[in-house]
Amino acid sequence: MSAFLFLVFFVTLAAGLPVAISMGAAGMASVLVGGKFPALVVPQHLFNGISSFPLMAVPFFVLAADLMTASGITGSLMRFANNLVGHIKGGLGHVNVLVSMLFAGVSGSALADAAGPGAIEMTMMHKAGYDKAYAGALSATTATIGPIIPPSILMVVYAISDARVTVAGLFLAGVVPGLLLGFALSATNHWMSVKKGYIFRSRRPSLSELGKSFVSAAPALGLPAVIMGGILGGIFTPTEAAAVAVAYSIVLGCLVLRTLNIKRLMDVFVQSGVTSAAVLLIVSMASIFSWLLTLLQVPQRIAWEISNLTTSPAVVMLLVAIVVFLCGMVIDTLPALIILVPVLGPLVDKFNIDPLYFAMTVVLNLTLGLVTPPVAPVLFVISTVGNIKFEDLVKAAIPFIVAEILVLGLVILFPPLSTTLPRLLGFAR
């Protein structure tokens, strides 16, 4: 039965069936062919797999980010970032990195960043004289900071699929790696800009200009403070925090900035609803798939095989990193996460690895999959939006991807990078 499950899954996946439906179809086909369970278990798992209040943080974080983008707050974030770092060598590139880091505090997904601020930054950089592929590659790779700096949809789903970690703990674990990613990309941009002669920079702003742009960006900067403060202070659950973030964005867009009206608001609700449907359909369909995996003892068998191979946690982490990286290259981030978490989870217990550290390496590793071909959703978005040939974009992205892999290596080598902050604040178990 497990052979059949994998056969249907991989054949339909390779043929180009949507990943969500591949998982559902493989699950249903195995149940029907196996004959051990009534077919009713399929709709039952699809329903119960997403019948979860904590999971509701996902649509709300999507909604909050869409509302923020629609209210035009991204523009003021960009002006602020430009005033802050635009006058350094490779200026707009650094602005690009900084905006992604700031926007990461609003949105939970890399695609939202790539399609929103990423696309705008790319156009700005191109206009300023940067090579289009270079600008696109930087926008794409900076977008991967989104799921690492909290809030993060990936982390919410991770915490729901693995009881060993909490959303708050994972959010905190992502802070230092997220900052590291930002530094690494900025440093690479600096080096490349010097090498390629991109010395265009903006004029150094006066202090009052900087202050003014800070004030207009402050509402957007306040949002992550509300979200994280609320969750860490034990005031809200992540789902409630996400709902508060939505309310905050609506008040900001409709009453403060006055850029949103009822019609626009409704448009955003529909758009976010469809985005959420696409994300949650994957979670739903994956639940039947991973239920079958667990039932067939696949995770246990893998853990057992690996423990026969080695007894060193370091070697296990290396093996996991390679497996996850390869999966991230060919499967989309979220489905890869949902399939891998139950499969790799037993390793954490068996080798006594810190679950938060383990989770952080997996999330970071899979996020790199967003920009590693052949399946690189963020590169696809940027190549479509910016009308850049995919191959050129990939070539230009290589130095940045290497920088990100180095950060991943650091996070794997030094567990305290991810575990210190949650431990200090008492969110590690």
Partner: protein, 177 residues
């Protein structure tokens, strides 16, 4: 004549479907937010609101899946099929479209079974038959089938609906086609 009728039904289906999704997401938000407010201001929260909003999320997922298909937002791996000659690729995509239709037809059939089974159980907070929220499985599946059929030719050509928000390169504003 028949063709314009077909298109009118198609457009109507999309419009009503979009409206439902927007209203449901809005209702979810209002319920959860109201619960936050009542809990911290008045000291109580409504368990039923938590349950209804969770069910609504599942409804949004299954009622929105067809729209996500139309907008090309159901992620798939197309690198291999893109290497096929155009004719073969169209044939493959037709086949995949039919696989989706068959899968969701089966799902709606077993979904009806689930609704029947769930009719004799009660939900925790609302104490209504579980069959009522379960209804989304057959309804959503049939809706997806309807979208697949209306969208079939465009699915084969990967001619996605342009409902994706487009970001204006200068102002950062979202506009719609």
């Amino acid at each position: 004549m028949a063709r314009s009728k077909w298109q009118a039904v198609n457009a109507g289906l999309v419009r009503i479907n979009r409206g439902c999704i927007g209203i449901m997401l809005c209702a979810m938000f209002l319920m959860v937010f109201a619960n936050v407010v009542t809990r911290y201001c008045l000291g109580f929260s409504i368990a039923a609101a938590e349950e209804i909003s969770t069910f609504l999320m599942i409804w949004v997922t299954y009622l929105g899946a067809g729209l996500a298909l139309r907008e090309g937002r159901l992620a798939s791996i197309d690198v291999l099929q893109d290497r096929l000659p155009a004719k073969l690729r169209s044939l493959l995509r037709m086949g995949l479209g039919m696989v989706m239709v068959v899968f969701f037809l089966l799902l709606s059939w077993y979904g009806v079974g689930l609704v029947v089974l769930g009719w004799s159980q009660e939900t925790f907070a609302l104490m209504i038959p579980r069959g009522i929220p379960y209804l989304v499985v057959p309804i959503g599946s049939l809706l997806f089938v309807a979208h697949s059929i209306f969208f079939f030719r465009k699915w084969v050509r990967k001619d996605w609906d342009r409902n994706l928000a487009e970001v204006h390169p200068d102002t950062g504003e979202i506009s719609r086609e």
